[in-house]
């Protein structure tokens, strides 16, 4: 057996080992709810999607969230139509996505409550911006619950609000994310 073959064998081993470890460290949340709340002088607008998805890796701290914009449900259907048609342009930008890292994510292997920093980039309306926030994690019996909320300035994502409805839609909306992860 020559040297090259040994290297290849080692290489294969390493890949299989790492992916194995990876899978154990990866947690997936199928029940991810994302709510946004706009508080403006004339109107409060709230919408919620329960069809978001998220995954995180406890070793690397990598975390990802993704939601389909058309899955947000509004109280008023006309608002839902305007949200998709006029503001989010869901035909062109169907998804909103967050990709980032949880600092000290390795702590989450033990039961308990933690508040950790999360930093990463958020893509809404085709525009990607860096964000950082604190998230609360609760670990119990192998289940990981995460809750966070942060502010998004609509103008940052090139979502323009015409002045005629300016008093009905806030410039900054509050996003709340609630996810329950399982290995």
């Amino acid at each position: 057996m020559n040297k090259i073959n040994i290297y290849i064998a080692l290489f294969m081993m390493l890949i299989s080992m790492t992916t194995f470890a990876q899978q154990k460290a990866s947690f997936v949340s199928k029940e991810t709810s994302i709510t946004f709340f706009s508080n403006a002088p004339l109107e409060d607008i709230e919408a919620k999607s329960i069809l978001g998805a998220s995954a995180m890796n406890l070793q690397s701290g990598d975390i990802i969230f993704r939601v389909k914009n058309t899955s947000f449900q509004f109280d008023k259907k006309l608002m839902q139509e305007h949200f998709n048609e006029n503001y989010m342009e869901s035909d062109r930008y169907p998804l909103s996505e967050f990709k980032g890292k949880v600092e000290n994510a390795d702590k989450l292997t033990k039961d308990g409550s933690y508040t950790l920093n999360v930093t990463g980039t958020l893509q809404i309306h085709g525009v990607t911006k860096p964000y950082s926030t604190k998230a609360a994690f609760i670990v119990k019996d192998g289940t990981l619950k995460a809750v966070t909320s942060f502010q998004v300035r609509l103008a940052d994502h090139k979502i323009s609000i015409p002045s005629i409805v300016g008093k009905k839609i806030a410039e900054v909306v509050k996003i709340t994310v609630d996810a329950t992860y399982k290995p």
Binding site: Y7, L10, F11, L14, I15, T18, T19, Q22, Q23, S26, V28, E46, A47, K48, L51, G52, A53, S54, A55, M56, N57, S60, D62, I63, I64, R66, V67, K68, T70, S71, Q73, F74, D75, K76, K77, L78, Q80, E81, H82, N84, E85, N86, E89, D91, R92, L95, P162, I164, V165, K168
Partner: protein, 313 residues
């Protein structure tokens, strides 16, 4: 040297693998059988109806206005290009019983011999286009009954020389078939059956017609709209009526701009049809674009919401 290269290679591949891994782990479900929304922004194009309905517990208040001829013998500077006159005005209320079932009432002036019109209508969208294209079109039924409240004309050849109550009624039945081809383009085809209980002498009671129309987005809030309605009139009746009245029948063509301000929909349009109501503009358009007999028209629609505010679960 070779060794370090190999190790480096190993690590880079593992690294990218991990990133992709999280990506693959999540798959998001959209809404199942997601329906195409906002094929049109409003229940009307210019003369034609669209498949759009207002949602449950919403009310739509709509005013349509048609001015006089811009040019031609009845237009021009002397009556400020038609703005001094109005050929028809319609004021209507629609209400959403369900998200796809609306009822409405309206009053319009009427632009033919038959005037003082009261209308009751229903629109039911029973097929909805889906995002996955399993259902390629939306289809709605529109039906209206129109009553003329005017005093019966003493001229026995007039369409308004009603003898009893039934003579005052006209019925419109339409099948509205629409497809949103892209976020920027929607088209509609409208086979129509119009029945008038009473007509002018030797006119036809039943008229079949075909309407076609479309909406093309110019920007997020402004769209071009156009529609064309072709009535299938019997040539013998048509010739007789044209000889007697000295007026020709034309097909109604409308072109316009649609503006969405969020809550309000404005239409600015030009059409040769003098009447707004289906029971009149389809069969009785006597003005021609070619003779300058087209007019400026507008419509304003405002939606009100009567849904109780509830927390979303």
């Amino acid at each position: 040297m070779r060794k370090t290269l190999f190790i480096l290679l190993c690590f880079t591949s593992v690294r990218s693998f991990a990133q992709e891994d999280l990506d693959k782990l999540i798959h998001i479900d959209g809404v199942k059988n997601e329906k195409v929304t906002a094929t049109f922004k409003s229940g009307n194009l210019i003369n034609l109806k669209t498949t759009e309905t207002i949602h449950r517990h919403e009310m739509d208040f709509r005013v349509d206005h048609r001015f006089g001829d811009i040019a031609g013998s009845a237009g021009g500077g002397k009556n400020f290009f038609g703005l001094d006159n109005s050929t028809d005005i319609r004021i209507g209320f629609d209400y959403g019983l369900l998200d796809n079932l609306n009822i409405g009432i309206a009053r319009s002036k009427g632009a033919t011999e038959v005037r003082q019109l009261f209308e009751g209508n229903v629109k039911y969208r029973f097929i909805e286009q889906t995002v996955d294209n399993n259902v390629p079109v939306s289809v709605a039924f529109f039906g209206s009954t129109t009553l003329s409240a005017m005093e019966a004309s003493p001229d026995k050849s007039s369409a308004a020389s009603f003898e009893d109550f039934n003579d005052r009624l006209s019925y419109v039945t339409q099948l509205i078939i629409a497809r949103k081809f892209s976020s920027n383009l929607s088209l509609v085809v409208v086979p129509t059956y119009l029945h008038r209980n009473y007509t002018a002498y030797n006119d036809q009671n039943d008229v079949f017609a075909l309407g076609i129309g479309g909406r093309a987005k110019v920007s997020n809030r402004i769209a071009l709209v156009a529609d064309y309605t072709f009535p299938f009139r019997k040539s013998s009746n048509k010739k007789y009526r044209e000889d007697v009245s000295g007026q020709h029948y034309y097909n109604a063509l409308g072109v316009g701009l649609e503006m969405d301000t969020g809550g309000h929909i404005f239409h600015l349009n030009f059409t040769n049809a003098t009447a707004i109501q289906e029971s009149q503009f389809i069969s009785e358009t006597n003005s021609s674009w070619g003779k300058g007999q087209f007019r400026w028209g507008f419509s304003i629609a405002r939606r009100f919401n009567f849904n109780k505010k509830k927390h979303i679960e």
